[in-house]
Symmetry: C2
Subunit: 282 residues, 2 copies
Amino acid sequence: MSTPPQSDGHPQTWKLTLAYDGTDFHGWQIQPDRPTIQGELQSALERVTGESPLPQGSGRTDAGVHALAQVASFALSAPIPPENLRRALNRTLPLAIRVSEAKTVPSTTFHARHSALAKTYEYRIFLGETCSPFHARYVLPCLWKIDPVLLQESARIFLGEHDFLSFAATDPERSARGAPAILDEDGDEQGSGPGSTLRTIFSSAWQERGSEAGALLVYRVRGNGFLHHMVRNLVGTMLEIGRGQLALDELVKILAARSRSAAGPTAPACGLFLHSVEYPQE
Amino acid sequence: MSTPPQSDGHPQTWKLTLAYDGTDFHGWQIQPDRPTIQGELQSALERVTGESPLPQGSGRTDAGVHALAQVASFALSAPIPPENLRRALNRTLPLAIRVSEAKTVPSTTFHARHSALAKTYEYRIFLGETCSPFHARYVLPCLWKIDPVLLQESARIFLGEHDFLSFAATDPERSARGAPAILDEDGDEQGSGPGSTLRTIFSSAWQERGSEAGALLVYRVRGNGFLHHMVRNLVGTMLEIGRGQLALDELVKILAARSRSAAGPTAPACGLFLHSVEYPQE
Protein backbone atom coordinates (compact mmCIF):
# COMPACT_ATOMS: atom_id res chain seq x y z
CA MET A 1 0.00 0.00 0.00
CA SER A 2 1.17 3.51 -0.74
CA THR A 3 1.63 5.93 2.10
CA PRO A 4 -1.13 8.55 1.93
CA PRO A 5 0.26 11.84 0.68
CA GLN A 6 1.36 14.25 3.40
CA SER A 7 -0.23 17.64 3.44
CA ASP A 8 2.12 19.41 5.86
CA GLY A 9 4.14 20.90 3.00
CA HIS A 10 7.17 18.66 3.64
CA PRO A 11 8.51 17.14 0.44
CA GLN A 12 7.41 13.57 -0.14
CA THR A 13 9.71 11.00 -1.76
CA TRP A 14 8.21 9.30 -4.81
CA LYS A 15 9.05 6.03 -6.55
CA LEU A 16 7.90 5.57 -10.16
CA THR A 17 8.11 2.38 -12.21
CA LEU A 18 8.41 3.03 -15.95
CA ALA A 19 8.38 1.04 -19.16
CA TYR A 20 9.80 2.56 -22.32
CA ASP A 21 10.64 1.88 -25.94
CA GLY A 22 14.11 3.43 -26.10
CA THR A 23 14.39 3.41 -29.91
CA ASP A 24 13.66 7.08 -30.46
CA PHE A 25 15.40 8.45 -27.34
CA HIS A 26 19.02 9.41 -26.70
CA GLY A 27 19.10 7.24 -23.59
CA TRP A 28 17.97 7.98 -20.04
CA GLN A 29 20.15 10.96 -19.17
CA ILE A 30 18.82 14.45 -19.83
CA GLN A 31 20.59 16.31 -22.66
CA PRO A 32 19.94 19.70 -24.18
CA ASP A 33 17.87 19.61 -27.40
CA ARG A 34 17.65 15.82 -27.56
CA PRO A 35 14.75 13.63 -26.50
CA THR A 36 15.72 11.54 -23.45
CA ILE A 37 13.66 9.54 -20.98
CA GLN A 38 14.77 11.62 -17.98
CA GLY A 39 14.09 14.84 -19.90
CA GLU A 40 10.59 13.74 -20.98
CA LEU A 41 9.79 12.63 -17.43
CA GLN A 42 11.04 15.86 -15.87
CA SER A 43 9.04 17.91 -18.35
CA ALA A 44 5.87 15.83 -17.74
CA LEU A 45 6.31 16.21 -13.95
CA GLU A 46 6.63 19.95 -14.40
CA ARG A 47 3.50 20.18 -16.54
CA VAL A 48 1.50 18.00 -14.14
CA THR A 49 2.69 19.32 -10.76
CA GLY A 50 4.21 22.74 -11.41
CA GLU A 51 7.36 21.46 -9.64
CA SER A 52 10.46 20.40 -11.55
CA PRO A 53 12.44 17.80 -9.64
CA LEU A 54 15.11 15.97 -11.66
CA PRO A 55 14.01 12.32 -11.49
CA GLN A 56 16.85 9.96 -10.59
CA GLY A 57 16.89 6.63 -12.43
CA SER A 58 18.11 3.30 -11.04
CA GLY A 59 20.76 3.57 -13.74
CA ARG A 60 21.26 5.24 -17.06
CA THR A 61 20.11 3.25 -20.04
CA ASP A 62 21.94 3.99 -23.29
CA ALA A 63 20.39 5.33 -26.48
CA GLY A 64 18.12 2.67 -27.97
CA VAL A 65 17.95 0.49 -24.83
CA HIS A 66 14.44 -0.33 -23.58
CA ALA A 67 13.01 -0.79 -20.08
CA LEU A 68 10.26 -3.04 -18.79
CA ALA A 69 10.51 -1.66 -15.23
CA GLN A 70 12.98 1.19 -14.78
CA VAL A 71 12.65 2.89 -11.39
CA ALA A 72 12.89 6.66 -10.82
CA SER A 73 12.81 8.65 -7.57
CA PHE A 74 12.23 12.33 -6.83
CA ALA A 75 10.63 14.59 -4.22
CA LEU A 76 7.46 16.65 -4.57
CA SER A 77 6.09 19.23 -2.12
CA ALA A 78 2.46 19.12 -3.24
CA PRO A 79 0.41 16.19 -1.92
CA ILE A 80 -1.01 14.19 -4.84
CA PRO A 81 -2.87 10.86 -4.69
CA PRO A 82 -0.46 8.39 -6.34
CA GLU A 83 -2.98 7.04 -8.83
CA ASN A 84 -3.77 10.59 -9.95
CA LEU A 85 -0.10 11.33 -10.56
CA ARG A 86 0.32 8.09 -12.53
CA ARG A 87 -2.66 8.81 -14.77
CA ALA A 88 -1.75 12.46 -15.30
CA LEU A 89 1.83 11.53 -16.25
CA ASN A 90 0.55 8.91 -18.73
CA ARG A 91 -1.71 11.53 -20.30
CA THR A 92 1.29 13.86 -20.66
CA LEU A 93 4.20 11.56 -21.57
CA PRO A 94 4.81 10.27 -25.11
CA LEU A 95 3.16 6.84 -25.70
CA ALA A 96 6.67 5.34 -25.85
CA ILE A 97 7.04 5.99 -22.09
CA ARG A 98 4.46 4.60 -19.65
CA VAL A 99 4.27 4.84 -15.86
CA SER A 100 3.10 1.43 -14.60
CA GLU A 101 3.22 2.38 -10.90
CA ALA A 102 3.55 5.56 -8.85
CA LYS A 103 3.87 5.49 -5.08
CA THR A 104 5.20 7.53 -2.21
CA VAL A 105 7.81 5.92 0.01
CA PRO A 106 8.11 6.51 3.77
CA SER A 107 11.90 6.85 3.74
CA THR A 108 13.17 10.29 2.73
CA THR A 109 16.51 8.65 1.92
CA PHE A 110 15.10 6.34 -0.78
CA HIS A 111 17.05 6.85 -4.01
CA ALA A 112 16.31 4.81 -7.14
CA ARG A 113 20.01 4.28 -7.77
CA HIS A 114 21.71 4.26 -4.36
CA SER A 115 19.04 2.11 -2.71
CA ALA A 116 19.05 -0.57 -5.44
CA LEU A 117 20.20 -4.02 -4.30
CA ALA A 118 20.09 -5.82 -7.63
CA LYS A 119 19.18 -5.28 -11.25
CA THR A 120 18.10 -7.67 -13.97
CA TYR A 121 18.67 -7.13 -17.68
CA GLU A 122 17.38 -9.14 -20.62
CA TYR A 123 18.86 -9.37 -24.10
CA ARG A 124 16.56 -10.69 -26.86
CA ILE A 125 17.73 -12.38 -30.06
CA PHE A 126 15.34 -13.28 -32.87
CA LEU A 127 15.98 -16.75 -34.28
CA GLY A 128 13.80 -16.76 -37.40
CA GLU A 129 14.81 -15.71 -40.87
CA THR A 130 12.68 -12.56 -41.28
CA CYS A 131 11.57 -10.59 -38.23
CA SER A 132 8.20 -8.87 -38.54
CA PRO A 133 8.45 -5.08 -38.77
CA PHE A 134 6.29 -4.87 -35.62
CA HIS A 135 8.96 -6.59 -33.50
CA ALA A 136 12.20 -5.57 -35.21
CA ARG A 137 12.78 -2.63 -32.83
CA TYR A 138 13.04 -4.99 -29.86
CA VAL A 139 15.36 -7.80 -30.93
CA LEU A 140 18.75 -8.47 -32.46
CA PRO A 141 18.18 -10.54 -35.61
CA CYS A 142 20.37 -13.63 -35.48
CA LEU A 143 22.25 -13.83 -38.74
CA TRP A 144 24.46 -16.76 -37.73
CA LYS A 145 24.18 -20.37 -36.71
CA ILE A 146 24.43 -20.38 -32.93
CA ASP A 147 25.21 -23.30 -30.62
CA PRO A 148 22.84 -22.83 -27.65
CA VAL A 149 24.89 -25.17 -25.45
CA LEU A 150 28.00 -23.02 -25.90
CA LEU A 151 25.96 -19.90 -25.10
CA GLN A 152 24.64 -21.48 -21.91
CA GLU A 153 28.10 -22.63 -20.80
CA SER A 154 29.46 -19.14 -21.49
CA ALA A 155 26.75 -17.55 -19.36
CA ARG A 156 27.59 -19.82 -16.39
CA ILE A 157 31.19 -18.56 -16.32
CA PHE A 158 30.01 -15.07 -15.30
CA LEU A 159 28.21 -16.34 -12.16
CA GLY A 160 29.60 -15.08 -8.84
CA GLU A 161 32.01 -12.22 -8.16
CA HIS A 162 34.39 -11.25 -10.97
CA ASP A 163 36.42 -8.28 -12.09
CA PHE A 164 34.52 -7.23 -15.23
CA LEU A 165 37.03 -4.61 -16.43
CA SER A 166 37.39 -6.46 -19.77
CA PHE A 167 33.65 -5.95 -20.36
CA ALA A 168 33.50 -2.25 -19.44
CA ALA A 169 33.32 0.51 -22.06
CA THR A 170 36.16 2.99 -21.81
CA ASP A 171 35.55 6.65 -22.44
CA PRO A 172 37.99 7.70 -25.19
CA GLU A 173 37.85 11.39 -24.22
CA ARG A 174 38.82 10.65 -20.62
CA SER A 175 41.48 8.20 -21.78
CA ALA A 176 43.06 10.86 -23.99
CA ARG A 177 43.47 13.32 -21.12
CA GLY A 178 44.74 10.64 -18.71
CA ALA A 179 41.59 10.66 -16.54
CA PRO A 180 40.04 7.47 -15.19
CA ALA A 181 38.28 6.09 -18.26
CA ILE A 182 36.22 3.26 -16.76
CA LEU A 183 32.66 4.17 -15.94
CA ASP A 184 29.84 2.28 -14.33
CA GLU A 185 26.46 2.34 -15.99
CA ASP A 186 25.73 5.65 -14.26
CA GLY A 187 28.76 7.39 -15.70
CA ASP A 188 30.61 7.33 -12.37
CA GLU A 189 34.35 6.90 -12.59
CA GLN A 190 35.46 3.47 -11.39
CA GLY A 191 39.23 3.98 -11.48
CA SER A 192 41.04 0.93 -12.75
CA GLY A 193 42.52 -0.41 -9.52
CA PRO A 194 41.64 -3.91 -8.37
CA GLY A 195 38.25 -3.98 -6.65
CA SER A 196 36.54 -1.06 -8.30
CA THR A 197 35.37 -3.11 -11.27
CA LEU A 198 34.28 -6.12 -9.21
CA ARG A 199 30.63 -7.04 -9.63
CA THR A 200 28.61 -9.99 -8.39
CA ILE A 201 26.37 -11.83 -10.83
CA PHE A 202 23.57 -13.74 -9.09
CA SER A 203 22.12 -15.40 -12.17
CA SER A 204 23.16 -15.59 -15.81
CA ALA A 205 21.38 -17.88 -18.27
CA TRP A 206 19.93 -18.16 -21.77
CA GLN A 207 16.44 -19.45 -22.48
CA GLU A 208 14.45 -20.11 -25.64
CA ARG A 209 11.12 -18.33 -25.55
CA GLY A 210 8.15 -18.32 -27.90
CA SER A 211 6.62 -14.92 -28.69
CA GLU A 212 4.29 -13.29 -31.20
CA ALA A 213 7.44 -12.38 -33.15
CA GLY A 214 8.51 -16.06 -33.32
CA ALA A 215 11.20 -17.95 -31.41
CA LEU A 216 13.55 -15.82 -29.31
CA LEU A 217 16.79 -16.63 -27.54
CA VAL A 218 16.82 -14.54 -24.36
CA TYR A 219 19.77 -13.86 -22.04
CA ARG A 220 18.78 -12.84 -18.53
CA VAL A 221 21.38 -11.58 -16.07
CA ARG A 222 20.86 -10.43 -12.48
CA GLY A 223 23.64 -8.73 -10.57
CA ASN A 224 24.46 -6.22 -7.84
CA GLY A 225 25.60 -3.71 -10.45
CA PHE A 226 26.91 -3.38 -13.98
CA LEU A 227 29.66 -1.38 -15.67
CA HIS A 228 28.93 0.82 -18.69
CA HIS A 229 28.01 -1.38 -21.73
CA MET A 230 28.73 -4.47 -19.63
CA VAL A 231 25.63 -6.53 -20.57
CA ARG A 232 26.03 -5.70 -24.27
CA ASN A 233 29.73 -6.64 -24.09
CA LEU A 234 28.93 -9.92 -22.32
CA VAL A 235 26.35 -10.74 -25.01
CA GLY A 236 28.65 -9.72 -27.88
CA THR A 237 31.37 -11.99 -26.50
CA MET A 238 29.03 -14.94 -25.83
CA LEU A 239 27.73 -14.67 -29.41
CA GLU A 240 31.31 -14.97 -30.69
CA ILE A 241 31.59 -18.19 -28.69
CA GLY A 242 28.16 -19.47 -29.81
CA ARG A 243 29.15 -18.85 -33.45
CA GLY A 244 32.44 -20.71 -33.02
CA GLN A 245 34.56 -17.59 -33.52
CA LEU A 246 36.03 -17.83 -30.02
CA ALA A 247 36.74 -20.89 -27.84
CA LEU A 248 34.74 -21.25 -24.63
CA ASP A 249 37.87 -21.55 -22.48
CA GLU A 250 39.01 -18.12 -23.68
CA LEU A 251 36.33 -16.54 -21.45
CA VAL A 252 38.28 -17.12 -18.23
CA LYS A 253 41.38 -15.62 -19.87
CA ILE A 254 39.37 -12.62 -21.07
CA LEU A 255 38.16 -11.93 -17.51
CA ALA A 256 41.73 -12.28 -16.21
CA ALA A 257 43.14 -9.96 -18.90
CA ARG A 258 41.33 -6.94 -17.41
CA SER A 259 41.41 -5.28 -20.83
CA ARG A 260 38.48 -4.29 -23.04
CA SER A 261 40.39 -5.34 -26.15
CA ALA A 262 40.46 -8.94 -24.92
CA ALA A 263 36.66 -9.35 -25.13
CA GLY A 264 34.23 -9.47 -28.06
CA PRO A 265 32.21 -6.64 -29.65
CA THR A 266 29.38 -4.66 -28.05
CA ALA A 267 26.00 -6.12 -29.03
CA PRO A 268 23.52 -3.54 -30.48
CA ALA A 269 21.32 -1.57 -28.07
CA CYS A 270 17.99 -2.62 -29.63
CA GLY A 271 17.98 -6.12 -28.06
CA LEU A 272 18.59 -4.88 -24.48
CA PHE A 273 15.89 -4.38 -21.84
CA LEU A 274 16.28 -3.24 -18.24
CA HIS A 275 14.00 -5.93 -16.82
CA SER A 276 13.66 -4.99 -13.13
CA VAL A 277 15.32 -3.37 -10.13
CA GLU A 278 15.17 -4.71 -6.58
CA TYR A 279 15.13 -2.68 -3.35
CA PRO A 280 15.16 -3.59 0.36
CA GLN A 281 11.83 -4.55 2.00
CA GLU A 282 9.95 -5.19 -1.19
CA MET B 1 5.40 -22.63 -57.15
CA SER B 2 7.04 -19.60 -58.73
CA THR B 3 7.64 -19.54 -62.45
CA PRO B 4 11.37 -19.88 -63.13
CA PRO B 5 12.85 -16.55 -64.20
CA GLN B 6 13.00 -16.05 -67.95
CA SER B 7 16.34 -15.37 -69.50
CA ASP B 8 15.25 -14.18 -72.94
CA GLY B 9 15.47 -10.54 -71.90
CA HIS B 10 11.69 -10.03 -71.88
CA PRO B 11 10.49 -8.22 -68.78
CA GLN B 12 9.08 -10.49 -66.13
CA THR B 13 6.11 -9.46 -63.96
CA TRP B 14 6.79 -9.68 -60.22
CA LYS B 15 4.44 -9.92 -57.24
CA LEU B 16 5.80 -8.98 -53.82
CA THR B 17 4.03 -9.42 -50.49
CA LEU B 18 5.11 -6.84 -47.88
CA ALA B 19 4.57 -6.18 -44.18
CA TYR B 20 5.30 -2.75 -42.79
CA ASP B 21 5.10 -0.60 -39.69
CA GLY B 22 3.65 2.58 -41.20
CA THR B 23 4.34 4.80 -38.16
CA ASP B 24 7.40 6.56 -39.53
CA PHE B 25 6.33 6.75 -43.19
CA HIS B 26 4.21 9.27 -45.06
CA GLY B 27 2.01 6.50 -46.44
CA TRP B 28 2.46 4.24 -49.46
CA GLN B 29 2.65 6.76 -52.27
CA ILE B 30 6.06 8.09 -53.30
CA GLN B 31 6.65 11.78 -52.45
CA PRO B 32 9.72 13.95 -52.88
CA ASP B 33 11.88 14.29 -49.75
CA ARG B 34 9.59 12.22 -47.51
CA PRO B 35 9.99 8.58 -46.54
CA THR B 36 7.21 6.47 -48.10
CA ILE B 37 6.81 2.73 -48.53
CA GLN B 38 6.68 2.95 -52.34
CA GLY B 39 9.72 5.24 -52.35
CA GLU B 40 11.77 2.94 -50.09
CA LEU B 41 10.79 -0.09 -52.18
CA GLN B 42 11.66 1.60 -55.47
CA SER B 43 15.01 2.69 -54.11
CA ALA B 44 15.77 -0.81 -52.75
CA LEU B 45 14.81 -2.37 -56.12
CA GLU B 46 17.15 0.05 -57.85
CA ARG B 47 20.05 -0.73 -55.52
CA VAL B 48 19.49 -4.50 -55.81
CA THR B 49 18.71 -4.84 -59.54
CA GLY B 50 20.01 -1.69 -61.23
CA GLU B 51 16.50 -1.25 -62.70
CA SER B 52 14.03 1.26 -61.30
CA PRO B 53 10.46 0.16 -61.89
CA LEU B 54 7.82 2.04 -59.88
CA PRO B 55 6.18 -0.70 -57.80
CA GLN B 56 2.36 -0.53 -57.90
CA GLY B 57 0.57 -1.28 -54.62
CA SER B 58 -2.81 -2.99 -54.24
CA GLY B 59 -3.90 0.35 -52.80
CA ARG B 60 -2.40 3.37 -51.15
CA THR B 61 -2.17 3.15 -47.39
CA ASP B 62 -2.24 6.51 -45.60
CA ALA B 63 0.49 7.91 -43.36
CA GLY B 64 0.71 5.82 -40.19
CA VAL B 65 -1.33 2.87 -41.53
CA HIS B 66 0.35 -0.55 -41.28
CA ALA B 67 0.27 -3.61 -43.53
CA LEU B 68 0.46 -7.31 -42.73
CA ALA B 69 0.36 -8.33 -46.41
CA GLN B 70 0.36 -5.46 -48.88
CA VAL B 71 0.93 -6.61 -52.46
CA ALA B 72 3.08 -4.78 -55.01
CA SER B 73 3.69 -5.53 -58.69
CA PHE B 74 6.36 -4.35 -61.16
CA ALA B 75 8.37 -5.63 -64.12
CA LEU B 76 12.09 -6.46 -64.23
CA SER B 77 14.17 -7.31 -67.29
CA ALA B 78 16.97 -9.15 -65.51
CA PRO B 79 16.23 -12.75 -64.51
CA ILE B 80 16.62 -13.17 -60.73
CA PRO B 81 15.75 -16.22 -58.61
CA PRO B 82 12.75 -15.04 -56.50
CA GLU B 83 14.26 -16.08 -53.17
CA ASN B 84 17.44 -14.11 -53.99
CA LEU B 85 15.42 -10.99 -54.74
CA ARG B 86 13.45 -11.35 -51.49
CA ARG B 87 16.59 -11.72 -49.38
CA ALA B 88 18.45 -8.91 -51.14
CA LEU B 89 15.49 -6.54 -50.69
CA ASN B 90 15.27 -7.42 -46.99
CA ARG B 91 18.98 -6.68 -46.58
CA THR B 92 18.45 -3.29 -48.26
CA LEU B 93 15.06 -2.09 -46.95
CA PRO B 94 14.59 -0.46 -43.53
CA LEU B 95 13.66 -3.04 -40.83
CA ALA B 96 10.19 -1.45 -40.70
CA ILE B 97 9.47 -2.88 -44.19
CA ARG B 98 9.85 -6.63 -44.82
CA VAL B 99 9.26 -8.67 -47.95
CA SER B 100 7.56 -11.90 -46.89
CA GLU B 101 7.24 -13.32 -50.40
CA ALA B 102 8.62 -12.54 -53.86
CA LYS B 103 7.47 -14.39 -56.94
CA THR B 104 7.17 -13.99 -60.67
CA VAL B 105 3.73 -14.33 -62.21
CA PRO B 106 3.04 -15.83 -65.65
CA SER B 107 0.54 -13.15 -66.67
CA THR B 108 2.11 -9.98 -68.01
CA THR B 109 -1.18 -8.22 -67.23
CA PHE B 110 -1.03 -8.90 -63.47
CA HIS B 111 -1.34 -5.60 -61.60
CA ALA B 112 -1.43 -5.46 -57.79
CA ARG B 113 -4.30 -2.99 -57.86
CA HIS B 114 -6.32 -3.72 -61.00
CA SER B 115 -6.20 -7.50 -60.56
CA ALA B 116 -7.32 -7.44 -56.89
CA LEU B 117 -10.69 -9.12 -56.22
CA ALA B 118 -11.01 -8.32 -52.52
CA LYS B 119 -9.17 -6.67 -49.69
CA THR B 120 -9.32 -7.18 -45.96
CA TYR B 121 -8.52 -4.52 -43.37
CA GLU B 122 -8.21 -4.83 -39.59
CA TYR B 123 -8.63 -2.10 -36.99
CA ARG B 124 -7.20 -2.83 -33.52
CA ILE B 125 -8.41 -1.22 -30.31
CA PHE B 126 -6.62 -1.74 -26.99
CA LEU B 127 -9.04 -2.38 -24.13
CA GLY B 128 -6.75 -2.13 -21.09
CA GLU B 129 -5.99 0.97 -19.07
CA THR B 130 -2.28 1.43 -19.95
CA CYS B 131 -0.90 0.09 -23.22
CA SER B 132 2.72 -1.05 -23.11
CA PRO B 133 5.08 1.23 -25.05
CA PHE B 134 6.04 -1.78 -27.19
CA HIS B 135 2.51 -2.09 -28.61
CA ALA B 136 1.23 1.51 -28.53
CA ARG B 137 2.20 2.15 -32.17
CA TYR B 138 -0.22 -0.52 -33.37
CA VAL B 139 -3.49 0.11 -31.52
CA LEU B 140 -6.00 2.81 -30.71
CA PRO B 141 -6.22 3.06 -26.92
CA CYS B 142 -9.85 2.80 -25.86
CA LEU B 143 -10.58 5.71 -23.55
CA TRP B 144 -14.32 5.08 -23.29
CA LYS B 145 -16.75 2.44 -22.11
CA ILE B 146 -17.81 0.54 -25.22
CA ASP B 147 -20.80 -1.74 -25.69
CA PRO B 148 -19.50 -4.65 -27.80
CA VAL B 149 -23.03 -5.72 -28.78
CA LEU B 150 -23.73 -2.30 -30.31
CA LEU B 151 -20.39 -2.45 -32.16
CA GLN B 152 -21.25 -5.87 -33.57
CA GLU B 153 -24.73 -4.78 -34.65
CA SER B 154 -23.26 -1.69 -36.31
CA ALA B 155 -20.76 -3.80 -38.25
CA ARG B 156 -23.55 -6.05 -39.62
CA ILE B 157 -25.31 -3.05 -41.19
CA PHE B 158 -22.41 -2.53 -43.63
CA LEU B 159 -22.69 -6.07 -45.07
CA GLY B 160 -23.64 -6.28 -48.75
CA GLU B 161 -23.66 -3.59 -51.40
CA HIS B 162 -24.08 0.00 -50.22
CA ASP B 163 -23.30 3.50 -51.38
CA PHE B 164 -20.52 4.50 -48.97
CA LEU B 165 -20.32 8.17 -49.99
CA SER B 166 -21.03 9.25 -46.37
CA PHE B 167 -17.87 7.40 -45.31
CA ALA B 168 -15.55 8.76 -48.02
CA ALA B 169 -13.01 11.49 -47.35
CA THR B 170 -13.48 14.53 -49.55
CA ASP B 171 -10.51 16.42 -50.89
CA PRO B 172 -10.96 20.07 -49.81
CA GLU B 173 -8.68 21.42 -52.57
CA ARG B 174 -10.69 19.69 -55.29
CA SER B 175 -13.93 20.78 -53.64
CA ALA B 176 -12.81 24.41 -53.66
CA ARG B 177 -12.19 24.42 -57.41
CA GLY B 178 -15.40 22.54 -58.16
CA ALA B 179 -13.64 19.33 -59.25
CA PRO B 180 -14.91 15.87 -58.22
CA ALA B 181 -13.83 15.65 -54.59
CA ILE B 182 -14.53 12.01 -53.79
CA LEU B 183 -11.55 9.70 -54.14
CA ASP B 184 -11.14 5.99 -53.77
CA GLU B 185 -8.28 4.70 -51.67
CA ASP B 186 -5.99 5.05 -54.67
CA GLY B 187 -6.70 8.73 -55.17
CA ASP B 188 -8.82 8.10 -58.26
CA GLU B 189 -11.76 10.43 -58.72
CA GLN B 190 -15.09 8.71 -58.09
CA GLY B 191 -17.42 11.50 -59.17
CA SER B 192 -20.43 11.77 -56.91
CA GLY B 193 -23.10 10.28 -59.14
CA PRO B 194 -25.01 7.21 -57.97
CA GLY B 195 -23.03 4.02 -58.54
CA SER B 196 -19.49 5.35 -58.36
CA THR B 197 -19.34 5.09 -54.57
CA LEU B 198 -21.04 1.70 -54.37
CA ARG B 199 -18.92 -0.96 -52.71
CA THR B 200 -19.69 -4.53 -51.64
CA ILE B 201 -18.72 -5.64 -48.14
CA PHE B 202 -18.37 -9.43 -47.88
CA SER B 203 -17.70 -9.58 -44.15
CA SER B 204 -17.72 -7.04 -41.34
CA ALA B 205 -17.38 -8.08 -37.70
CA TRP B 206 -15.71 -7.29 -34.38
CA GLN B 207 -13.88 -9.87 -32.30
CA GLU B 208 -12.14 -9.83 -28.93
CA ARG B 209 -8.62 -11.13 -29.20
CA GLY B 210 -5.93 -11.81 -26.60
CA SER B 211 -2.41 -10.60 -27.44
CA GLU B 212 0.91 -9.91 -25.73
CA ALA B 213 -0.30 -6.32 -25.39
CA GLY B 214 -3.45 -7.46 -23.54
CA ALA B 215 -7.06 -7.71 -24.69
CA LEU B 216 -7.83 -6.18 -28.07
CA LEU B 217 -11.09 -5.43 -29.82
CA VAL B 218 -10.50 -6.03 -33.53
CA TYR B 219 -12.71 -4.99 -36.45
CA ARG B 220 -12.14 -6.99 -39.61
CA VAL B 221 -13.75 -5.96 -42.88
CA ARG B 222 -13.46 -7.63 -46.29
CA GLY B 223 -14.80 -5.95 -49.41
CA ASN B 224 -14.38 -5.55 -53.15
CA GLY B 225 -12.92 -2.07 -52.66
CA PHE B 226 -12.84 0.87 -50.29
CA LEU B 227 -13.09 4.65 -50.64
CA HIS B 228 -10.43 6.95 -49.23
CA HIS B 229 -10.50 6.83 -45.36
CA MET B 230 -13.54 4.54 -45.57
CA VAL B 231 -12.45 1.94 -42.98
CA ARG B 232 -11.33 4.63 -40.53
CA ASN B 233 -14.64 6.46 -41.01
CA LEU B 234 -16.64 3.26 -40.48
CA VAL B 235 -14.68 2.59 -37.27
CA GLY B 236 -15.01 6.18 -36.02
CA THR B 237 -18.77 6.03 -36.55
CA MET B 238 -19.19 2.57 -34.97
CA LEU B 239 -17.23 3.79 -31.92
CA GLU B 240 -19.71 6.69 -31.55
CA ILE B 241 -22.48 4.09 -31.49
CA GLY B 242 -20.61 1.79 -29.11
CA ARG B 243 -20.08 4.72 -26.72
CA GLY B 244 -23.74 5.65 -26.83
CA GLN B 245 -23.10 8.97 -28.61
CA LEU B 246 -25.12 7.92 -31.63
CA ALA B 247 -28.14 5.59 -31.92
CA LEU B 248 -27.70 2.35 -33.85
CA ASP B 249 -30.65 3.09 -36.14
CA GLU B 250 -28.92 6.30 -37.29
CA LEU B 251 -26.50 4.17 -39.33
CA VAL B 252 -29.00 3.40 -42.06
CA LYS B 253 -29.88 7.10 -42.27
CA ILE B 254 -26.18 8.01 -42.45
CA LEU B 255 -25.70 5.64 -45.42
CA ALA B 256 -28.80 7.11 -47.10
CA ALA B 257 -27.66 10.71 -46.52
CA ARG B 258 -24.72 10.30 -48.94
CA SER B 259 -22.92 13.08 -47.10
CA ARG B 260 -19.62 12.88 -45.18
CA SER B 261 -20.96 15.26 -42.55
CA ALA B 262 -23.65 12.73 -41.58
CA ALA B 263 -21.14 10.15 -40.32
CA GLY B 264 -18.79 10.08 -37.31
CA PRO B 265 -15.12 11.10 -37.10
CA THR B 266 -12.16 9.43 -38.81
CA ALA B 267 -10.46 6.95 -36.43
CA PRO B 268 -6.67 7.47 -36.08
CA ALA B 269 -4.35 5.76 -38.57
CA CYS B 270 -2.27 3.85 -35.98
CA GLY B 271 -4.93 1.16 -35.36
CA LEU B 272 -5.39 0.27 -39.05
CA PHE B 273 -3.74 -2.66 -40.84
CA LEU B 274 -4.12 -3.74 -44.45
CA HIS B 275 -4.58 -7.43 -43.63
CA SER B 276 -4.57 -9.15 -47.04
CA VAL B 277 -5.41 -8.81 -50.72
CA GLU B 278 -7.01 -11.53 -52.83
CA TYR B 279 -6.39 -12.25 -56.53
CA PRO B 280 -7.85 -14.72 -59.05
CA GLN B 281 -6.48 -18.28 -59.10
CA GLU B 282 -4.74 -18.15 -55.76
